[in-house]
Each structure stands twice: as structure tokens, then as C-alpha cells.
Symmetry: C4
Subunit: 425 residues, 4 copies
């Protein structure tokens, strides 16, 4: 496996039927249980290239990532064995994916609402810890060249844990611990998850520069930072001659669009910060029960209605320990009805295209040029395979199709009007 060519996934799987017990037939026959009534997309399967897979520079850096990355959270979840996880990783590599992202479910949305934030932090930490250990073992076992794959992991923090907030101490300790668990000599991109308003930005950028200068990390980025916070980090990097961040990880899908569509292009153009997108749908988190998926969309949709920065409000809600309970009360019955209608219409569109709703939302996200890498997650090989196929759907999303989707969604984000104090006179 010295020099794999992108997208030899299928042939590879076919070649070792005894190895992973997954055959071409199995993949073809595997039924999908998604909320989408349509038959999932199965195109050009005989070629040994994953059509549509591209390599793009992440932000304005020299690091070239596949436009699809593997979000490993569902892969290393409790109900997936290490053997199954390894098959998923192998499929990703053989499909040409070179990004493995370590994170837990970003918003903690799927946790029981009654949990306290402190418990959630600790649980999340354990899940990610296990993911790093297992991914490290798989990478070591497979013996892939270190140059051929990219590992991104995160620095999480909480004011309730022993570490008590973001700090130089916490950043350095986190990176060292991740390196040890992963058994790697360096991490490709370390992502700082949420900015800490109590920790000066100078301290964060100096600490990130330190871990890079130690050779432990190649690049750094952010997750769930506001555009202003990202600009502040950049300004501090310039002031103290530190390495600038190259990427923001943000939620992006049909029902969560503002940050990515309104602010990320400007950040990319002005300071070279790119976008790694994820969504509950593409991470495979909506799987299992049909209605849970619909509900997921619903929630996103509703949040969307009431805030221009959904990720901020979400955050506020989480730290308020209220979970999403507030939604049940505030959401109007009329809204729920409208949303169900939208989902139905989108399903109709997917059916016309011959794909599932999940595939449609993936393709739609990938079509946005701001998205340099879309993280897909999977808890089994078939799910990942199907989601990857969404790449072939992109050319079908022509102007008419896109306009149809806009018409259904009715949520094209616009910048709030500038409020001038002069105008108020």
C-alpha cells in the first residue's frame, strides 16, 4: 500500500472478501434505513477512482486535504468494535480520504438534556480519549506512511474540570496527552474548541506557536469561534509574530447556513482561514429512527429562524444547562407544520435525483466552494460508502436545482442591516 491511488475503495474491498467480510455485493445489496425514502445513489462503481474526490488547500496553507474527511466520532462510539472501526478507516483511505478528525459530538445535542455540563465534559473527554488511542493503534498496525494522512484533533476545556479553562498550561498538556495516546510524533492540525473569554488571546496564540515550534503540531485552527474572535487571534499572531490559524471548523448544512455563507468567505479572503464543515446529518448522527432525523433538521431549522449566529445561541443555551428544552415551549405549532412540509419537499427532490436526503444534503454542502473539507462520519462501512457517493451528485446540482432548494428552504442568510446611530436621529 505504498502509493495508493485515490478511490480504489471498491476494487480493494472486492479483492479481499475474506479479510473484512464486506463484498461488492453486500454493499450493493445493503438496504438503507434513513429517513429518505429514495434509493441511495449508486453511480460509476466500476471505476477505481472515487469520482468527485478532490484535494484542496486547507485555508491559505500548503496542506492539501481531500474535500471529504472522516469525522471519527461515530466510528469510535461504544457500539462499534475496533475491528469494524478499522474497516471504516481502511475504506476511507482507499477512497482517497486523507483527513481523520477526532472530536466528540460537537454540540452535545444528542446527550440527555438532564446532564450537567461538567459530566458532559468528562464523558466527551473519555470518548475522544478512546478514539485517539484506537486510531493510533490502527494507524500503527496499517503502517501507512505518515506523510500520506492528516490527523486533526481538538483542545477542549471547561471551567468545571480540574484544568479550569483555556490556558498555556492546558494547551500544552492537552497536546502532549493527545500525542501520547495517538502514538504519533506530531498532529497535523490542532483545533482549539471554543475561545475562552477569560484567557487572553496573546496567551492562546503564543501557546499554539509553542506547540508548533516544538514540532508537536504542524498547523492550528479553531472550532465554534465567532468571526471576531478569529480576527482577534489573527491580529495577535501578527503582533507577536506567531503562526496564524488556517481553519475554522463549523456546522454547515441545509438548515445552518449563516456563519459559513456570510462570514467564512471574508475570513478566507482576508486572513486565509479556511473551513472544515460538519453537520449532524453528514456525521451519521441522525441514523436509526426516521423521526429523530426529522427532528434534528427541525431543531436546526428553528434555531435558524430565531438567530443569525446559530452556533452562538446554541452555546449560550448549553452553558445555561437548559439543553434544548426551551425549544419545546417556544416553537409554534405552525412552525413545526411548515418544517415538516419542507422536509417532504426535499425528499421529493432527492427521489428525483435518485439519492437519499442525506446524500443530497452532503452534495449541497460540498457544492459550496468555501467548504474545503466536509467531515463525514459513519458507524459502519456501508454508511460511509453511501455518503461518499454523494460526491457524484454534485454535478447534478445545477442552477435550477439549487434554486429549487432555495425556494423550499426559504432561509438564504443575509447580513443584518448596518444599524447606524446617525440614522436614528
Amino acid at each position: 500500500m505504498e502509493e495508493f491511488s485515490a478511490g480504489s475503495a471498491l476494487s480493494a474491498l472486492a479483492e479481499r472478501p475474506g479479510d473484512g467480510t464486506i463484498t461488492k455485493e453486500q454493499l450493493l445489496l445493503s438496504g438503507l434505513t434513513h429517513s429518505a425514502p429514495a434509493v441511495p445513489l449508486q453511480l460509476t462503481r466500476s471505476t477505481n477512482i472515487t469520482p468527485g474526490l478532490r484535494y484542496r488547500n486547507l485555508g491559505k496553507s500548503g496542506l492539501r486535504v481531500s474535500n471529504i474527511g472522516l469525522g471519527t466520532w461515530p466510528t469510535f462510539s461504544p457500539n462499534v468494535t475496533e475491528e469494524q472501526a478499522e474497516q471504516i478507516i481502511v475504506l476511507a483511505v482507499e477512497s482517497g480520504i486523507n483527513v481523520f478528525d477526532l472530536s466528540e459530538a460537537h454540540s452535545g445535542r444528542l446527550y440527555k438534556y438532564s446532564e450537567t455540563a461538567a459530566q458532559t465534559f468528562s464523558e466527551k473527554e473519555k470518548l475522544r480519549t478512546r478514539a485517539e488511542v484506537e486510531l493510533g493503534r490502527i494507524l500503527a498496525r496499517r503502517g501507512w506512511k505518515r506523510t500520506s494522512f492528516i490527523v486533526t484533533t481538538k483542545i477542549y476545556w471547561s471551567t468545571r474540570s480540574e484544568e479550569r479553562g483555556l490556558s498555556r498550561k492546558h494547551i500544552i498538556e492537552s497536546v502532549k496527552a493527545s500525542l501520547q495516546r495517538l502514538q504519533l510524533s506530531y498532529i497535523d492540525v490542532v483545533i482549539v474548541h471554543k475561545a475562552d473569554p477569560m484567557c487572553p488571546m496573546e496567551e492562546v496564540v503564543r501557546a499554539m506557536n509553542y506547540v508548533i515550534n516544538q514540532g508537536w503540531v504542524m498547523y492550528w485552527g479553531t472550532a465554534r469561534w465567532s468571526p471576531v474572535e478569529i480576527m482577534e487571534a489573527y491580529t495577535n499572531c501578527r503582533q507577536f509574530n506567531c503562526v496564524t490559524p488556517i481553519v475554522e471548523q463549523a456546522e454547515y448544512h441545509l438548515f445552518c447556513r449563516e456563519k459559513t455563507e456570510l462570514y467564512m468567505p471574508e475570513l478566507y479572503n482576508k486572513i486565509g482561514v479556511g473551513l472544515m464543515a460538519w453537520s449532524p446529518i453528514s456525521m451519521g448522527l441522525s441514523q436509526g429512527k426516521d423521526d429523530s432525523s426529522i427532528q434534528l433538521f427541525s431543531r436546526a431549522s428553528f434555531r435558524n429562524k430565531y438567530s443569525s449566529f446559530s452556533w452562538t445561541e446554541d452555546e449560550t443555551a448549553a452553558t445555561n444547562k437548559e439543553g434544548y428544552g426551551w425549544m419545546k415551549e417556544r416553537i409554534q405549532p405552525e412552525e413545526t407544520r411548515r418544517h415538516s412540509e419542507r422536509i417532504r419537499e426535499l425528499n421529493g427532490l432527492a427521489e428525483k435525483l435518485g439519492c437519499s436526503l442525506t446524500q443530497l444534503t452532503i452534495a449541497w454542502s460540498l457544492k459550496n466552494e468555501s467548504v474545503q473539507c466536509l467531515l463525514l462520519g459513519a458507524s459502519n462501512v456501508e454508511q460511509l460508502y453511501e455518503n461518499i457517493q454523494a460526491l457524484q451528485l454534485i454535478p447534478k446540482l445545477n442552477t435550477n436545482m439549487v434554486q429549487d432548494i432555495e425556494r423550499i428552504l426559504e432561509n438564504k442568510p443575509t447580513r443584518p442591516p448596518m444599524v447606524s446611530t446617525l440614522a436614528l436621529r
Copy 2:
């Protein structure tokens, strides 16, 4: 002890009565021998949180410290066994304290006056050396996560020792030696004790930046530096792109107020340097003889009367090798009488509040928001326990109470009037 919740001190002690031989009863019954006639404060002991313990960012850094830190000098003094010291450390940790400060008695005030400065330096050095070795052993034995505690230690220097003054060589050698004694891979905060007028500030800040970039130290601070020296350090850091100091350690109590009250808020607001305070009283140094405590207050008080920068004068006196002999001559009998009266009045106030004078002075210091961390010292578990209880006193120090104290002290510091050469014409 993976994730201790702050302040489980008492329950923890109660749970292992055979371990440390200290039981709830013993603590309740332990008599206090302080100068304060009042019964010490014993509030809300049944909860498993130390009420009033807070975590604050040290200066404008991301490092969050408990508002009470353990000053380990009395803990590792000759008449405390390592077993007893370990019990004190454990109580501190279980109370939620996450700061261990290594220092010797700051001003050397309790040493015999006849000693030469050189001898004092050497003796001090030995005491601190032993403290580092013992603390290192205890931390290793207990196996607490490195992320959960903060160790601060100091760089002392003398022109009379072999090292001959502050220098890059001395700073680097000191840090390396401390690391070895502590058996830690890094120190959280290294404090430079006194500025050396003979060593350029550029050399100091570059050396501190060096030890931080080596990963040996996370942050640095100062002790007994004048506001102008701290500003000079900051300016040099900015000029040479070095990491700025985050804390000044200063004496602060009822009778030593100027630096903390007049200058530290400005330093915090302008350059982010916070305050770690200590006092002979809260460090348990006044214990044993009643009158020594009063004398201690007295001295501070007198110095206070005659200088606006008490720590500077103190310093000057020390280097003059005169000790405090000068006081005996200059202090008027009238002053002594007035001071004894004040102590009597304060004791009355403490009695009213149902606490000891030591607890009152601790609570009064903690009430000042400039004090991010107050160092408490103890040579036995009971003493530390009682001093920690002072946290519960803070809410009782309402406006009236504070005004009463001001009225008794008559030492509210004010900035000296600006002397304008124009005005002299």
C-alpha cells in the same frame, strides 16, 4: 481521586480517621492559641464544598487559581515532619486549593537580627531546597494529575553568594535545579524575587522567555518589585517580543496596604499583572507567642507610618544589615500605645463576628478584589483548616464593618501629592 470536587476536605478527613489521625471531632475541639481571644469561626461544616472558595484567573492570564493558595514555608519548616506536611497538603487539595507556593519567609523578619545577609541567604536557600524536595516527593506519592495543581517557586539571588546576582546564568541554573528537586517536568509560575539593579531588564526577560520556551516554565512573575520595575519588565517584554509577567507577589494585610491598594489595580488594568498576596499573619508566622503577633502588627504599622512604599524601605534596611534595630530607636512611646489600642479594638470586632483576629485579617484581605490569590501557611492541619474557614466570613464584611475597620486603622493609603516644580515657583 480522578475528579475531586472542591472543598470535600472535611468529609475526606472524616472518612479516613485511621489514616491521618485527624477526625472531625479533633478539629472541632482543637483549641486555638492565637492572640485573638475570640472563638474561631466554625460555619456550615456539613457541606462538602468549602464555601467561598473561588477560582480566578491569575493576572490577565488563562491560569485559574483558587483564591486561597498554600504558602508552604511553615509547612516544610524544621519542626514539622514530612508526614505532617503531607497531611497539610492533602487538606489543602481536598479543600479545593490548587496553588502551592514555595518560598521562605519573605522578609527574613523573623530571623535573628544579628545574622549577616549572606548567612541568611544561604539558610533560606537550604529551607526552600528542602521544601522543593519534600513537596516533589509528596506530589509523586499522591499521584495527582499534573493538570490539577499549580506549583510556584522563586528565583532568589544575592550578591554575596557564589552566583553573585541575577543573570541569565543564574536564572537558568535556578530553574533547572528547582525542576530536579521537584521531580516535575515543568513549574507553573517562576517568581523572580527582587529585581537586580545591576542586571539589565532585557537580560531578565529574555532569560524568563528562554525557560518558558524550553517548556520548563509556564508563566513568570515577580516578588517585591516596585511598580516601576514591573512596568520596565513589561516594556522590555514588548520590545523584544517576550512573554510578559502575570503576577506580583506582595505583602498585604491590615497594616501593609499601600502597594496593593494604590498600585496593583493600575498594573492589573494596564498590563495584566495580578496579585498573589501574603502576610506574616496569614502565613502562620505570628503563632506561638501572643505578643510576638502584636509586635509583628506593630512593626508593620510603624513602617507604614513612615513610608509609602513599605517593602522598599524594608529592603533598604535589610541590605544595610541593620535589621530592624532602627525601629527601636525611632518609634515613639506614644505610637506604641496607639497601636496596642488598635489591636484591642480589632479583637473586639473579631469577637463580635465570632472569629479570631487572624481570620478577620484573612477575610479582610480576601475581600479586596485585587487579591487573586491569598497565600495561607500552616504548620499543622488545624491551623490551615481554621484559616480556610475565614472564607465564610467575607460576606459578613459589609460596608459598615469595613468602615469600622478603617476607622480603627486610620491608615487608608493615599497617593502622595504630585510635586510640581511649577508649583514651587
Copy 3:
């Protein structure tokens, strides 16, 4: 061999006839099969100094290189044994050469045109990898002092390989891999081969600064960069306080002159970037078949005719995967005839000087003061020996001779006229 004096090549060879089986006689008798009809130059062979060998500072750096360096590509080619390679290295060292340059054939010109670029990259990589391993073994075996020789190697990249382009990750991985293969604690000069328009210059200069600060590399340079790209690198170094590049490796010979003659002097004077030159002829790549050599010249000549930046066009062609096929179509028969005539005239000149055409072209290149180091390659000892003798030819290239050559070549480069938009009005 503690302190070798420059140029004891011959005596050394003579002294161990049983060792390498090469004797003075053999060298004298060895026939040349070059395209040049003239008898190769054989001057002042009895002295133990290589006449004309000089040490020059490379760019405006303190590193002093011999004006002739050994390009090791032909040395570690498949049809040369490691024993023969070692003899070539030894001859170079004993001649006073202190530069060993590791590279593959720069333009890939001699590869079959049908190859895809990806295959070419992989093959090239293998050749250079082998060269590093063998050179490392020879240097270790000989035990020369590390201070006495200079190793330069390259960072190659391709968008088609796993590494996918130039990046901090790729630069660091490349240098580490080269160090391991060479078994050296540092490389003297690392050359970045081609700029990557997709990788920000800031990332490149920071990464080069990083490998230098790690102690892995002493200096860095570029190969096949345009003057504007070199200036951009320099500007970024100044902006981010990074170490500036000291050298550009460029093709330079009778038929490829623009970059070296028009732009390198300016770069040297303004930003201290020097020149290490190579040519297909001096690297011994034209050997074997007479006409291939002529063809080589021809190609260079033709390219010359149609572009002022030959190396740029070459590059463009290569990335277009068209190879040099386009030439066959565009080159006029008239041009071919004129070029053959020029070669004939130059051969006549060489004959007059008593040297081969290869020697003449080497001497002519060395005469240019911008060339601080000319890389000579050889697949056998005799070839290297003869090429080194060209040093003695330099004084013979007087003004008349140089004018004669200019008259024959008719390709003295001139800057394209400034096109002023004002003039167009």
C-alpha cells in the same frame, strides 16, 4: 587525511594504484567519446594543486564553497557501482571540491516523454533516495571531518504524490527523511525545488526557518524559482524575521543564459542570493551518443529563441504533460540547420584551444563571476577529472575569445523593453 590540501587528486590517485585501479597513465590514455572532436585538455598535471580551483562565499553567506561542486546524480545512477561512485567522490575531495549536491536530473528531460509526471516524480524520488543513502555510507566510511564538506539536497514535491504539494508538513518530513538516509546530524544547504503557487510563501519561509532552528539545516536555497518568487521569499523572511535564502540553483550554459546573466547579478547585489549553476552538459548527461548531445544543445537553443525565461516555459510544458513533443512541430528546419552550424564553429574554437567542447562550455560558465559554484557530474573518474581540468582553461578565455563565442552564439540576452502604458497612448 586530516587536513587535505586542495587538488592533490593526481598524486593521490598515483599513490594507490592497487586501490582504485586508476593510474595516471589510464587517465592520460582514456579516450573521450564526447561530441567534441578535439583532444581534451591536459595541463600542468604534475602540480598537486588543482589550478583554478577557488573557494567563494555562496551568495552573501559565510559558507565558502569550491567553485566546482560535484553534482552526484550521474554518480549514483543505476549503471555505476557503489565502489565506482566512491572513487568519484574521493577524486572530488582530493581535487579540493567541498560541495556534494544531491538531485536528480533537473528537468526530467532525458526521461521518456510518454511517462506521466506522477511516475516521473516517484522514479526521481527513488533515484535521489538511493543517492542519499550511498553518499551517507561513503562519507561515514571515509570518516572525513564534518566541517570539511558541504552537502546540499533538495525538497521535491508534486501535487500527484501522497504528500500533495509543498507545505510545512512536507518540508519537515522531507528534511527528516534526508537526514536519516544521509546519516548526518545536519544538511548544509536544503534547496526547495520549484515554488508551489498554492502554498503561501510565509509557510515556506517559516518552515525553512524551523528546520534551521532545529539544527537540522544550516542554510536554505531555491531551485527553478523565478526572480519574483525569490524576491517574495526574501520579503517574507524580512517580514517574519526568518533566515533568508542564500542560493538559487539554475541551469546555465552556452545556450541557456537569460536568468543567470540578466537577473542573478541583481538578486545577488540586492538580497545576497548567489548562484549554483548546472547544465546537462557539465553534469555529463550528454555523454554516450554524440548526436544526443547536439540535440540537447539544440533544444536549449530553441527554447532560448522563443522565451526569455526558458525555465518557466519548460516547467509549463512539463505540467502540461506534453513533454517536449511540441518542439518537433514548432522548430523550423532552418533553425535546426543554423544550430548545427553553431555547434560546428564552437567545436572549431575548442580545437584551437586544445580542449573538448564540454570543457569549453564549463570554462565559459565558470568565467561568469555570478557563478559561485558550477556543478559537474560524472559517472566515472576520468570524466570528472577531465571536466575539472577545464578550470585551467579559464585564463585562456580572453576578451577576443569571448567575443568570438558571442559572435557564434548570437544569443546574448537582453532585458525585454519596458512596456509603458503611457507610451501606448
Copy 4:
């Protein structure tokens, strides 16, 4: 020997008569064979402090050096055994000296004139190499605390050696080699011996900054640099945010005064570069034959007459490979006569003061406040002991005495008049 007090030399020697075989009596009785007819100075020998020994900050750095340092060149010369060398080192330490300077005879003046510079370089290198190895062994054997002594060594270079000039490569290799020979983890001060006009100053200061940042070196300085070169180094340090040099080593004695007296005070005041002085007389190089010493003075004197920058001319002469042969021709008989007269008069003065001429010249040099450290050399214990005694002579050099010396010397340096091009009109 944990905490030695400065200057316990004599008592220490007296206490272990069997150890080093040197007793108080032997020192008292030891006859001096210097050119000076006077009886050497023997004052206040019963105290256990070396009177007059002071610690001064070297340049404007925090490093405090004894005002007398041990120049180890004569100590590790071929005709001194390692045992004898160790006794000299021990005497130095017990006298309170904390500086050991490794160098060979600075100007090579005592070498045979016929030698080529290349041979000289190689020989010098060998001597210094041996000195480092032996000093390292002695320091390790004695087990002195690393903080208690200061080792300074040099980076020499030559265009004729393999290393070929000053360069980043040469600087790094030199420091690493010295560290290995000395068996130390760091060198206190590394001195760059002569600037290389061919090596950019940026490269030198970046390389010195590198070795400091690696922890291999604490400070750096220069030797035999012109004031303009030192200023250039300083400017480059400021431009590239590198650590500035703290010291220049320069020749300074009765007959070589310009650089030290005219230029070093300005450099100290403006950029904090201090002075470590040496002279052939104080290094014990004039010992053995009386007339050689006189001749030494003579030469210095003559050079003095004809140049304002003696060290520059000296240098020029050396690189011209002419040695000092030119002097024989140019020096007028009249000059020789005048000089002998001066020596006679100075000897008279020394006699009056009860000291040797060598002691007088040492005391006279130490009296200059620009000299923070005067290097004394010795090939035996007695010689060092006597030279150290010169410290007690300093108070005797009152204004009258200094004026007498000036009157005899007639060489008080003055700045050359500013030549204004305006004035020439």
C-alpha cells in the same frame, strides 16, 4: 568547598602542605626572574581575602566576574604538567577568581616569523583544544559547583583551514566541539575571534543567538573587533531581535592604549559592551629572558607610534604573512634608545613602590575602570600568586604616580582630529 569565600588562597595553601607541595614559605621564598629588578610586592598576606579583588558586571550584563581572570594559555602550554596546571587553577579559585579564559597567544607574536598563517592556525587550534580538554578534566575532578565559575572560550577561524572562514556552520561546529572537549553542558561566554569581512554580520549574530537559544552558551562577545564592527553587530542584533554581545577582549597595557582608552568607554556607555583585557606581560609571556620582555614592550611601543589602531595593523601584518619583519627595517635607532630609557624609568618607579615592573603594569591596567576583567596568565603557582598581589598596589597609584607614568610614557592616546571635507575648501 561548597561555598568558598573569596581570596582564601593563602590559608588554603597553608592548610594542605602535603597536597600541592606548595607552602607559604615556598611562596615567600620563591625568587622572581622577571625583567623587573625590584623585589615583588608582598602585602597583607595574613588576611584570608585577596585584597582588591572585586566582582564586576561584565559589560552591561548580569554576569559578575572577578576583576582578575585566569588566562589559561600559559597554564596549558607544553612545558607545564597537568598536575601543575591544576595547582594554578586551584590557586585562582581560592583567590576568588571566577573566570577561566581559553585562548592561545592572541597575536601569534611569539611564534617563529617564518611560519605560514595556515600552520599557525592549526598549531594554535591544537593548543587550545588541549587546554579545553585539560580544564574540563580538572573542573570535573574538583567538582566545583557549575554556578561558581565562568568559562570563556573562542571561535577561531581561518580562510586556509578546512572550515574556510566564519560562518553559521563553523560557529555551531566550534561551539559543539568545545562543549564536548570541556565536558560542560554550557559555556558562559563564547568569544568570536576577529570579524570575517566575507561573512555577513546578520549570519554571525543569528548563529550566536542560535547557540544561546540551544542552551549551549550563556553570553557572547568579540575579540580583536574594531569599534565599527562591534557597532555593526549590535545594530544587527537589534534589527533581528538577537541577544547582543556583552564584551570585547582587547590588548591593553602601558604600551597599547588607544582602543581601550579612546573607544571602549563609548561602547560600554552606548551599547553595554564591556572589556576583558589581556597583555603579553600580564599573561606571563615575557618571562624567561629579560630582554625578550623589553623587546615585547618595544614592539608594542613602536606599533603604537605608527598607528592609532594597533590591533588592526597587527592583523594586517599577520595576514600579509610578513610577521613582524617589517619592524626591523622601519624602526629608527633613535626610537629604540628612547624606549629603553622609558623601561628604565618605569623600573625605577616600580622599585620605589616596592614591586616588579610586571606588577606595576598589571596594577596600572586594573586602575582603568573600563577594564572589568584583566586576564592574568601563569605557567606556575608563584607567578600567578605574585601577579595577583598587584591588586594591592592599585590604591598606591595616586594622581601623582599616574602623572609620573604618563610623563614617562608620552603615549596618552588622543582621537585623531575629525577631517572635515568642508574645512578643506
